[in-house]
Symmetry: D2
Subunit: 333 residues, 4 copies
């Protein structure tokens, strides 16, 4: 299976390594608006750097991996569909929910696997939690709590084009809730600017709590902060009728020091590359499974739209100060 990569930035490089590691997939081309970045990556992998059009026109290429900037995602998905490629796209589909709905319609007619890169679905810890939940090890799930803090906020320049905390950061947690509990019926959002006043001046929040309520009475809570100085705090907890499942942080190492200052363990691993490096490899193999073996795609375009719809609902809730219903109009379903 021959793969071309769109985007030679940080996340593109992670995917390039995953493609190389899975013996069933071969990276053959890369493109980037920053041609130097594309050429550097091409040199490292002994492949060609070329234009997007060349890739789309090359019938020997089976799949494209879209890891370019967010504003290119929806156009590239559409182009990939027209070119008959299997498509792996980093989240989100688009910052505009309306545009995402258009992509969803186009995707419906495509006969090749299309997958959204919700990397956390492939974290071994969250996968083990989901497996235990689905195996009924704690009975029926009732309450879900997702804690997701970044170690430090991004530059304000990034915040300004990010689409806001709900679409940029909490979108992963919305997807985690969908992954574990399905789609909710209502979204209630709270948010503040406590970390950096400049984020507030840019019209965004940096601290947020969202509550999702489900048709059958289940409740999910998401907590986000742009700052947890001790590292990337990524936890999920589910209360069920027979017990609780909790996926805790991964620590830098297992050393425990006992002194007069207390009993000290290592910090959580610092950020998403450290925490989710294994997940990226598992994620890519799942896409190859879909393309090569016809297995179902574990996160499709609809999942991408769903997460975006929940972010949109959260934005509306924060504006109005009231819960917002999750309607078919929002999800396009």
């Amino acid at each position: 299976m021959k793969v071309a990569l769109f985007g030679a930035g940080r996340i593109g490089k992670v995917h390039a390594a995953s493609i190389k590691t899975d013996p069933r997939s071969e990276l053959v081309a890369v493109t980037d608006v920053m041609t130097e970045a594309a050429e550097a990556l091409a040199a490292e992998y002994g492949i060609k750097a070329c234009s997007a059009d060349e890739i789309l026109a090359d019938s020997s290429i089976d799949a494209i991996l879209i890891a370019s900037s967010t504003n290119t995602h929806s156009d590239l998905i559409e182009a990939g569909v027209k070119a008959g490629k299997a498509i792996f796209c980093e989240k989100p589909i688009d910052l505009s929910l309306e545009r995402a709905h258009q992509v969803l319609k186009i995707a419906a007619s495509h006969d090749k696997p299309m997958m959204m890169g919700f990397n956390r679905r492939f974290d071994p810890n969250f996968m083990a939690l989901k497996a235990a939940l689905e195996a009924g090890e704690i009975g029926k799930g009732e309450m879900l709590a997702v804690t997701s803090y970044d170690p430090a906020p991004p530059p304000v320049s990034y915040i300004k084009v990010s689409g806001g905390l709900y679409r940029d950061m909490m979108i992963h947690d919305f997807d985690m809730c969908s992954y574990l509990f399905g789609m909710p019926k209502s979204v209630m959002a709270h948010g503040s600017c406590l970390v950096d006043p400049q984020i507030g001046e840019a019209g965004d929040i940096d601290t947020a709590v969202v509550v999702l309520t489900y048709e059958d009475g289940r409740i999910a809570t998401i907590r986000n902060s742009r700052r947890a100085p001790y590292g990337y705090d990524q936890r999920v907890e589910v209360l069920g009728s027979d017990g609780t499942l909790a996926a805790e942080n991964e620590l830098e190492n297992t050393v425990v020091k006992s002194t007069t200052s207390g009993v000290t363990s290592a910090k959580p691993v610092y950020f998403f590359l450290e925490r989710y490096m294994r997940a990226y490899g598992i994620e890519w193999s799942a896409f190859v499974d879909a393309v090569v073996d016809g297995k179902p795609v574990p996160a499709g375009i609809q999942d991408g739209v769903n997460a975006l719809a929940l972010a949109e609902a959260a934005n509306q809730s924060l504006q109005s100060g009231r819960p917002v219903d999750v309607t078919a109009e929002l999800t396009g379903a």
Copy 2:
């Protein structure tokens, strides 16, 4: 310091033991509408069982401890004030917020210590968390999360007279939020009946999430369930600008077993008597400190009214599906 006990039930017995343990306080009388219960406790402690009126009229008695049923609390507080006694009263003041406001006014003129029995303020774990928070060990607090699950629901007959989950169960967690973060400006409540349909038929919920938002942007989240089969799940977590503090559960013992089934520790201690037994003793000593040494009361009548006001706001929010402001009208402050 001579003490008389109102109520010889389960919690009354716990307090009797605490009174005995502190060498500065002496239990001298007990009363209960169930005279047999009063007489049994009197026999065990070598004290007299008598009527409430006899206690109130006995000028040698310095303090009364009100551990009788909730519907007697406000009347007994008023009677105690009239009789010039120091007063320790189990939570809540009353199920009626209006009645609690009356008690608050009467209390304002009393010159003896009056203390509400919010036992969790005296749990060594939560005390250590609060001390670290106030010492600035994690900078300024930003998000608070309280997890509080009972091991199993009470009988439905109890649910019917309990005042509902927010006033009966979450009232402790409202007080924990006040203890750590002060009073919020707004309350948003969610609730479901997932544990036992009979609880729903009785008009109550058994699963609840409440979000408190603060004037300065801080956010607190409370999760309650009437059922956590593995024991009493009592945790508090605070994210601050410099880190996180979490008070975890106390386990039955420290044994860890590693077998092919995994690595297994003991369960959390089963319920409030096991978990908060030490807290009851520390709580009582704090009251004795106030009566004997004139130290400030760590939880007064206003704290009791505040917790009840948050419960009332939660009830209104659950009804309306919207956030409810915490006004001076609610708190009587």
Copy 3:
């Protein structure tokens, strides 16, 4: 059951509180060579301070609790036997193994319960470990490791009369091995002076490892240090054919702090009073069970002799640099 206490020092006070807590036992008299200490304790409990002879002659006294200095233990046990009392004696029986053998013979003819105060057998953590081991939860035990560090060394003046680390400190761990694995066939001792040169000058060691080997091939390892600045480090671990059981330290509280410095828990509780306070109460109740209900004594005179015999063997091994066999001559059995 009426009890008289020999010794009004620190450990005597702990036992006095235990006697009071168990409703089946009543403290009626105390004696101490420091008459002021005896009188202070007598005043606190409203009992009489008197001479040892008065206690032994008082036929209304059912049991004596020997918590006086080590050099009085064997004589008091013998006197208690002659006076027909049930006897609870703090460890060790005597610093002289020969003298302990004499006591063992005299004890053989006594028809009242006699119990040695090996408090760790009553620690809820070690009790839970033993129960799991005996229930076969890890199959058959194969290797045992006991870690036992004091927070700080005692004064050198104490070291000089202590009988040495093996008889004074490790004797508890020898008993723990007997409790869990029975008596070994051989003892190999290692020891150093690393903590305080004055301890070495006094002819003792402060750091020690002893290996016990059993007839059936099982092996136990004991590690001792007089100094662990973070608190009292008291752990036991057993590898069995189906898994491992480990009893870990009890921490001061359950608060966990995550900052840039790492993830920090509280220290282990500081020393034996903090760690074993619950054990002392359970221990005393076990003695009352034996006296009042005729239940078997969980740690008898033979257990006291056995622990002393292992300490003697360790001393011999340290001297010779070779393993020492545990013979009938050593144990008196």
Copy 4:
């Protein structure tokens, strides 16, 4: 840097992957007495499978990696020295200490890096422990305890040619002690056959405790078992003058389940490939650092001889039942 691999078995494949991952090293040839294994690996990596002689004669090859069976190690090291190659060799040098001494002498004259594959020195947990120890975070080290259990014993056919537990299994732990505490002055060994009688019939043990004592009074304890059904149990603990450092096991994932059965975490990762996969990569990079950048080799031939000398001393101690001194005669130093 061009590398040839001797041995295409399980550990050879691990090293092949490490060589590929470090961009500074290139695998160019492989040899194995099982030519099919060599050809399969050669095909996977697009390199040549050839004879040992061809490799040694090829002057374009900078380094050889010896991962063939133990009985070939010493001859291949000597051949590599003659051929002027940098040499990375899996442990042990040889089962014969005498033969290892010969290799040590030959190595002394070699001017290329020579490194022994003591993989545990490169485990991030043990590296972090050593770094903290050397940074003085717990003061001066006093007692060391190494726990090292395999999940299940190898086939008895392997046991028969393994050289025995001390040379085959505990050799890693001897090296860990040298890595952290240096070389001891004396070795006392204990061992039993508790896991599988067939191991005993083959003249070996499966359960062992060894105590190492140091000139300055420090003491190290090693515990080995061929069976820990819950996984690979690999822990190291050091007591120092200011505290304790412990490197704990890595678990399969971070999920914690709380039910009526207790609080259950995942098991330790199963065996050495899972546990030390990262270590193999770090180890290889350290060798490349030595060859390419002239950095010191972190584990040399002398370290290999030292570990073998301690194993030899342990064998003598087990035979004699007495401690054995670690002499220059043993270590060749």
